[in-house]
């Protein structure tokens, strides 16, 4: 492990924050989704780093499961976005506000 773990973790934290900014700021549901993928990847990076740090392979397995769930999530999420687009002619998350109190 030539590069110390904190560097990897810092990269993970910055990526996570970038993804969050995207979720909060962007209006296109697609871009919001991509930002979420960025956040997931940041978490994965942290997992892999810790796995290496502890010398235990469990962290990598967790990444494996995150990948599975992310794939399913993308499939369902994109299907929902397509449906929303069909129903409302928009993918702008600010236009989808039926739950407004």
């Amino acid at each position: 492990m030539t590069v110390p773990a904190p560097y990897h973790l810092a990269l993970s934290a910055v990526l996570f924050t970038l993804g969050m900014v995207g979720v909060l700021v962007r209006r296109s549901a697609l871009v919001v989704f991509m930002s979420i993928e960025v956040m997931l990847n940041a978490v994965n990076l942290a997992f892999v780093t810790f796995a290496r740090l502890r010398g235990v392979v469990d962290g990598q397995l967790l990444v494996f499961f995150v990948l599975v769930v992310a794939a399913v999530e993308v499939v369902i999420g994109l299907a929902i976005i397509v449906d929303v687009f069909r129903a409302m002619e928009t993918v702008d998350v600010d236009d989808v506000d039926l739950l407004r109190g």
């Binding site: 969050m20 909060l24 998350v93 600010d94 739950l99």
Partner: protein, 633 residues
């Protein structure tokens, strides 16, 4: 061997009929409904008859401590709590079998009669279901082996009484009468229930056999416990059997169909109070003061209701007051200790009063539901057979020998004379009034000018209604043979005596001259009453009367008005106070809570913007707080 099976069958067969007609009666044809209902009751009656045969035949499995032969059928343990054990228990002994036979026999006849009477009513299946439920409850009441089990039947017949009085529930008067009957008898039932509790306290059980056995040991003669128990039970009996001052529901109960009046409000349910007192005679004998009160209440009720019947314009209500009056005789009988005489009168009354009601029902049937005697008259020519049946019932009620009413009433009067002369005097006076009012009813209905003129299509009832009337007429004529003879106890009394007053031996009956004089006197009074009634209402030669008395009578001594002022008024006032309290305290609290929740909801509503990023930001803030906690720790 057969006895337990038969004893269980008697109440369950009508119950099965109720279940069949109640669940699927709407889909049955009218004919099927009638066959199911009548068949169930006929089978129950047959089972009761077999029961009679069996207990005459078989030796008792062991002499009960009370002396009489009795069989106990335990169904299952209903309440088991420490020392308090309440099994659902049936008690088969001469008294319960005799009563079950009366109930089953009259009930069967009235079921058959109802088939014709209710023909064409859309609620036919409901009617027969209720009627069968009533039969089941009444059989259960009669056969119950302890007070708690009896209470089930007691309330069951009360429920059926309510349901059947208010059978035509779309009529406000019928619905109100049902409610009134239910509430007034409930007043008495409170006493009955308290009496059951006292019995638990005194005996540790409410088993009739144990209570009869231990009454002498546990209850001091004339003691407080005995008196309290007797009075509380009598309160229940007075409510159920419409004695003063709880009689007010029975006249209104005539809103129900006439067969119901005949079955429930004349022959069976209203006599349950008498039956209960006879069943627990051992307890009542320990409380002479209560017995005196019962006798006095019975005598006063007898003469009061007879007087009220004198001015009543409605045919069925005349019969209702007559029933109250006759029930008064029964209470008079049991109050002076003549228990078997009470049961004898109960039986003969069941015959002739059911006959009178059925005849009245035939009149109503012919006249399209008319009950006001002022709009009847001259029906003897149109309904000759009904007139004959009513006449037989009326003569029995008036106490003309050799009809059954004469024998039973005379037996009560002679027992009363032996106890207290004033009770006898009141009873004889009431008997005179009885003769007058029933003659009045007969005259107004069947004699005189035909007020309905040419419009009349009135005719005698169809055979299905006529046959029960004739059978009852036959029983009315022959029923006297059940219980009367000059020198020794009659058949019924000897049969009952094996269970009643055991140990004391059959009472020595005073025969001879004293008895003959009493009989002569009561016959004389009855004949005099009929003559007076004839003069007043048929010949109309005896006129006059005291207006004040007539006013008093037509208001029934203002008892209803006293209830209105003394009971209903305060209850209404209390209800008004409660309503205000409900609005200002309870409702205010509930509504205030709801409003507070609503307002807080309105306030928080702004958080639900519907914008995805706001929700994400909330999550972020939450995570931030948790992180801050970790970092600062």
């Amino acid at each position: 061997m057969l006895i337990p099976v038969l004893a269980v069958l008697v109440p369950t067969l009508p119950l099965a009929g109720w279940a069949l007609n109640g669940l699927w009666g709407g889909r049955f044809t009218r004919r099927t409904v009638a066959i199911v209902a009548c068949g169930a009751v006929a089978a129950a009656f047959a089972a009761a008859a077999l029961l009679l045969w069996q207990i005459r035949l078989a030796p008792p499995p062991g002499r009960a401590p009370a002396g009489g032969p009795s069989w106990i059928v335990d169904l299952y343990s209903w309440i088991g709590a420490g020392s308090i054990q309440v099994p659902l228990r049936l008690l088969v002994d001469p008294l319960s079998v005799a009563m079950a036979l009366v109930v089953g026999g009259v009930g069967l006849l009235i079921h058959v009669y109802s088939v014709g009477y209710m023909d064409g009513d859309p609620g036919c299946a409901r009617y027969f279901a209720y009627l069968n439920l009533f039969m089941a409850s009444m059989f259960w009441l009669v056969l119950a082996g302890n007070l708690a089990a009896m209470f089930i039947g007691w309330e069951g017949v009360g429920l059926c009484s309510y349901l059947l009085i208010a059978f035509w529930f779309t009529r406000p008067a019928a619905a109100a009468a049902g409610v009134k009957a239910f509430l007034v008898t409930r007043l008495g039932d409170v006493g009955f229930l308290l009496g059951i509790f006292v019995a638990f306290g005194v005996f540790g059980t409410t088993d009739f056999g144990v209570m009869t056995r231990d009454a002498g040991a546990r209850l001091a003669l004339g003691g407080g416990a005995a008196t309290a128990l007797a009075l509380l039970l009598f309160a229940g009996a007075a409510g159920k059997s419409a004695q003063l001052p709880l009689y007010v529901w029975l006249p209104d109960a005539m809103e129900g169909p006439t067969p119901v009046s005949a079955l429930i409000h004349a022959a069976t349910m209203v006599t349950a109070g008498v039956y209960m007192i006879v069943r627990l005679h051992a307890v009542f004998l320990r409380a002479p003061a209560a017995m005196d009160l019962i006798a006095a209440v019975g005598a006063v009720t007898a003469i009061f209701a007879a007087a009220a019947a004198l001015v009543e314009p409605d045919l069925k209500r005349v019969l209702a007051y007559s029933t109250i009056s006759q029930l008064g005789y029964m209470f008079l009988a049991v109050g002076v200790g003549a228990f078997s005489a009470g049961i004898f009168h109960l039986t003969s009354h069941a015959f002739f009063k059911a006959l009178l009601f059925l005849a009245a029902g035939a009149v109503m049937h012919a006249l399209g539901g008319e009950t006001d005697m002022r709009r009847m008259g001259g029906l003897a020519r149109r309904l000759p057979r009904t007139t004959a049946a009513f006449a037989i019932g009326a003569l029995a009620l008036a106490g003309i020998p050799p009809l059954s009413g004469f024998f039973s009433k005379d037996l009560i009067l002679s027992e009363a004379f032996r106890a207290q002369a004033w009770l006898w005097a009141v009873g004889v006076a009431a008997a005179g009034l009885t003769a007058v009012y029933i003659l009045r009813a007969f005259a107004l209905t069947f004699l005189g000018a035909d007020l309905r003129g040419a419009e009349g299509t009135a005719h005698d009832p169809p055979p299905s209604m006529a046959a029960p009337m004739w059978i009852l007429a036959g029983l009315t004529v022959a029923g006297g043979g059940l219980g009367w003879s000059f020198t020794h106890p009659g058949i019924l009394e000897r049969f009952l005596l094996t269970g009643l007053r055991a140990g004391a031996g059959p009472p020595a009956r005073a025969g001879g001259a004293g008895e003959g004089t009493l009989v002569a006197a009561s016959v004389l009074v009855a004949v005099a009453g009929i003559v007076v009634g004839w003069l007043v209402y048929v010949r109309r030669s005896l006129r006059g009367g005291v207006p004040a008395l007539a006013g008093l009578l037509s208001h029934r001594f203002y008892i209803e008005e006293a209830y209105a002022v003394g009971v209903i008024g305060p209850v209404r006032a209390l209800a008004r106070v409660a309503a205000v309290a409900d609005r200002t305290v309870t409702d205010a609290a509930v509504m205030g809570l709801a409003r507070a929740l609503g307002r807080s909801g309105q306030a928080l509503r702004g958080l639900e913007t519907g914008y995805l990023r706001h929700y994400a930001a909330f999550v972020l803030v939450g995570v931030l707080l948790i992180l801050a906690y970790w970092v600062s720790r």
